[in-house]
Subunit: 347 residues, 2 copies
Amino acid sequence: MSDGVHLKPELPLVLSRYRDVMDLALKDAISDRSIFLYDMLRYCMGWSDTNGVPLEAEKGKGIRPSLCLFTCEALGGDIGKALPAAVSLELIHNFSLIHDEIQDSDEIRHHRPTLWNVWGIPKALVAGNVMRVLADRSMFTMPSDDPKLLSASSLIVSEACLEMIEGQYMDISFEGGNSIGVDQYMKMISHKTGALLRSSVHIGAIIGSRGGRVADTFREIGVKLGFMFQIKDDILGTWGDTASTGKPVGSDIRRKKNTLPIIHARESQTQTYQEEISELYSMESIQDHHVDRVLDILDATEARHYCQGLVEDYALDVSKDIQNIGFSKNSREEFQELVSFLVDRSF
Amino acid sequence: MSDGVHLKPELPLVLSRYRDVMDLALKDAISDRSIFLYDMLRYCMGWSDTNGVPLEAEKGKGIRPSLCLFTCEALGGDIGKALPAAVSLELIHNFSLIHDEIQDSDEIRHHRPTLWNVWGIPKALVAGNVMRVLADRSMFTMPSDDPKLLSASSLIVSEACLEMIEGQYMDISFEGGNSIGVDQYMKMISHKTGALLRSSVHIGAIIGSRGGRVADTFREIGVKLGFMFQIKDDILGTWGDTASTGKPVGSDIRRKKNTLPIIHARESQTQTYQEEISELYSMESIQDHHVDRVLDILDATEARHYCQGLVEDYALDVSKDIQNIGFSKNSREEFQELVSFLVDRSF
């Protein structure tokens, strides 16, 4: 199979090992009903073009299902048991992407037009909602010999989903507002990005270890991974290379997103920087030279250094957490490779 | 309590009896989290104004939860057990309304601006999604002494939700298309409207009777109630009185909706009518005199008589079904009153 040809060379083992099994399970979950709606979902997943003709486009990293399956397996669990939850998590992630793209008017993802951009808002909205129901449906395929596992996992995913949506609301509410501090930002990303990532690790640990203290530790690890992931995303959205990220340089600045680099610069001691960013962000549209000026201010306030430092702090923390939770030496090394990837990734 | 003051005088007992208990349970489900998002949900439910200040606005008929609780109770079940599912069904219905209004660009519901009309599409989209998660959450509050009941009910609601969304997709796909026949229309409404109504009666029967053949019969009754309900809605959307429906006269014609009256007229023997409607529906915008002309054609093809006849046929069918399914004489009479209301309602 040629899955993920664009990404594989750089992906750590944890993110590549389960790609084939996940792809099969996801294709099974997005069943072949006869209405075109399901072709829209397959397009979203990178499996077909806008006419429903199969192809292999660039895919997401699949970090949520991989984390779920890896955690389960590394704790001695059966990944078959965790697969329905892993599929559910990936579908919920895609549901959120489809709706997010509508909300943010994002026209491109992974170098391809977004769903609303191809089919309009009404159909894209419906496609997102179907993705969400298919996620629920996948959960119902969990082994029925342990109904408590199903209800516990469903409850965790449901709560994560609620937090994620609340986070999206906070994010929208913040847009254009100039007074957001680091604390509010951290709360927002812990909801918008962190909740689902956290639940991936948490559910994997519950299925792998049958709950208890180990699962709680993994929940905490998941929280930290969520922060790492989003802050790194902010770095890439500001300084990332177009060819790697699939987004234009400074794309978050053009969209006047309140990312951590911007919030850090605003909270800097230098009053003029604060005012200048507020002024630039209150403009109708942001031009190339405005982007350059914002990047200069971010340089002057060492915003990149600050953000990358936070990512590395979380990485160090997680690396410590992982020492005493029953992983084999091999699993620890694999997890460490993943953590290093999250610190250094360019896409 | 002054709930439903606009509606109560005309509502049959089945739709008024559970209003207070439902209102309390719904208010409990839409908990008081601190972000404004939840005020949007309360506005949607008719409990508060756009600033979050409590008021009593016109509410929906609550037909889904009422059907669920009534069926359960009339079969000898405990409505306390069915309440979480009833709440879930009403929240899913409201989730679908919020997203439907975005898709159809509807500006008014129950004489008040719709959510996207007040807060914009991004926030309304999120509000709909939260409503959906709260629906799931409500299901989790079902009595845990019977985990099979929870998983059976969840599965039914989930499948109904999927069908409903597929129906929304069909509806959007049909818009502007001229070649939709009665068969396609019936399939679309059985998904879009029928699935959730069907599941309301079905789940009520399962909880009230512990499943079996009775529940299957109620599932079929639910299918027929769904057709009755939507065809009557089409009649009201075409000929309804603004003061009763809260929508402008001929509102479905102005929106070029492929309602049953229109499809019936198109399938009439008279070629000129077919062409004229196709021509009117392909115009950029529909003016008052166009609406009048469509109404004339609907008169000439006896569309109203045809649609009302179908509603009455289903009503007769359901009235027969209800004779031998273990209802008391009193429950049969109450159900019959509901059926008559669905045939004759003006809102």
